[in-house]
Amino acid sequence: MTDLNTLGLAEARDKLRAKEITSVDLTQACLDAAEASGALNAFVHHTPDIALAQAKAADARLATGDAHDMCGLPLGIKDLFCTKGVASQAGSAILEGFKPEYESTITQNLFDAGAVMLGKLNMDEFAMGSSNETSVYGNAVSPWRRGNDDTALTPGGSSGGSAAAVAADLCLAATGTDTGGSIRQPAAFTGTVGIKPTYGRCSRWGVVAFASSLDQAGPMTKSVRDAAIMLEAMAGHDAKDSTSAELAVPNFEAMLTGDIRGKKIGIPKEYHMDGMPEDIEALWAQGREMLKAAGAEIVDISLPHTKYALPAYYVIAPAEASSNLARYDGVRYGHRANLAAGDGITEMYEKTRAEGFGHEVQRRVMVGTYVLSAGFYDAYYNRARRVRALIKRDFEQVFAAGIDAILTPATPSAAFGLGEMDNEDPVKMYLNDVFTVTVNLAGLPGISVPTGVDHQGLPLGLQLIGRPWEEGDLLNTAYALETAAGFVAKPGKWW
């Protein structure tokens, strides 16, 4: 019998329904796998008592025959989601000891559907990073290695713990969040599927805010079908998030026909980057051929403002972060610095934030403060918001011309070694998000699908970008790509 933790959501659901397995057994298999995975540092808070209680309840519900697709399925939850009574630190020292008195809408939706929480997953501090190296918990480590080389590789970031946990079969699937690529880049680095839905599809309530106009949560899974199932359970209008859309959530799984005949797939010329590894170029070309063979029409397109997406992002995201993170002041929750005699409230703020925030977070908060400060607001912040409008217009124009989806590489390289970027300037790390960040700026849905491996045997992903609110169609195109690619590689177990 297969180890139960290696199942995907769809397979496990079917086995639960057929009474071949129980949620308690499935959950226990995942808890055991998570418990034995310390070397990956993916799970940072384990919640076995909650998991087993939820699993028992799920088995009871399944026995009545009236259960949601997600019922009884064990998940990992990114540390960015507030979970009632369970540590939710956003990977930061400043939220040390914080246990929310409330549940995020997304985790509540998942629990209402009967899903099981195994624990909280590692991430870059406040989701700021592309390698999970800015976490207060230490690095998450990818289960993948370069052949027999035992160099520890990044699982990507910021949802690095989620990606590592799904790839290593510590859970069936996980939640992630994506502000500039934080679901899609780690998914690509670990051979997993990650979708960032349209901005407003999932409620942001109870998800620790980084850059509110860009943040979206989504599922990280072992297959496109699993992504469809889990996204449906996460999504939906929420009165507690005024930007969440009042749109019905379709049955995404039912839309997976695999038929993409006649679909127009755009290939943006601006995504050919100088110095891009041959492996990535080759993969992209193969992806085009696969979709063409499946009956899609491949169309060369132009998104002329692509080059300006990253610089615009590194104005807008830090600006919003500096505002959002102002709440961490040592008064209402989390860490407060020890004060010296005579220190007043300003010293308390300054010492608390210096101790509580890591280096990258401090840097971004200060960059954001600078671009919003008097005299620079127009030159930086307003200009970036204008460029953002142009980036969105680029996409609107190609969609108006009949393009159904856009195919790009997900990342400019395969996973790199932990520590390899230490001596680079911060902008080098930011380039990881070069293909994904445009999608956040335009509020569009994007999905990373594992499509091949590089010359070292590391997974590579392609990204598909869809029209707003058409995640169902996007998932179907992704399903066709997944089917054609037939990616089956798994990391050998060394941890």
Partner: protein, 95 residues
């Protein structure tokens, strides 16, 4: 635009993050690297383009202005580093 040590100190002060004097030159250098990257935006012709306010065209929903929640003082204070007598406690702010 080049950021010097004094500007870095002023930004740190505005952000309420304590930065030691000897760390300021390196911080200023990092700012300059990032701002140099951002400067590319000056190449773009943004004439006549309005700054984006909402990525999805939507009006903020209106609701009745009424109390829908409350009476949870214990929960509100539960995570405070220092809570006393039903209040958040902070260092003295008024002499």
């Amino acid at each position: 635009m080049s950021i010097d040590k004094d500007t870095a100190a002023r930004v740190a002060k505005l952000a309420r993050i304590k930065v030691e004097e000897d760390a300021l030159p390196a911080l200023a250098q990092e700012f300059n690297t990032i701002l140099g990257f951002i400067e590319q935006l000056n190449e773009v012709d943004v004439e006549g383009i309005e700054p984006m306010t909402s990525v999805t065209p939507q009006r903020l929903k209106r609701r009745v202005d009424e109390v829908t929640d409350g009476n949870q003082q214990d929960k509100v204070l539960k995570n405070a580093p220092d809570a006393r007598e039903g209040f958040f406690a902070v260092p003295k702010v008024v002499e």
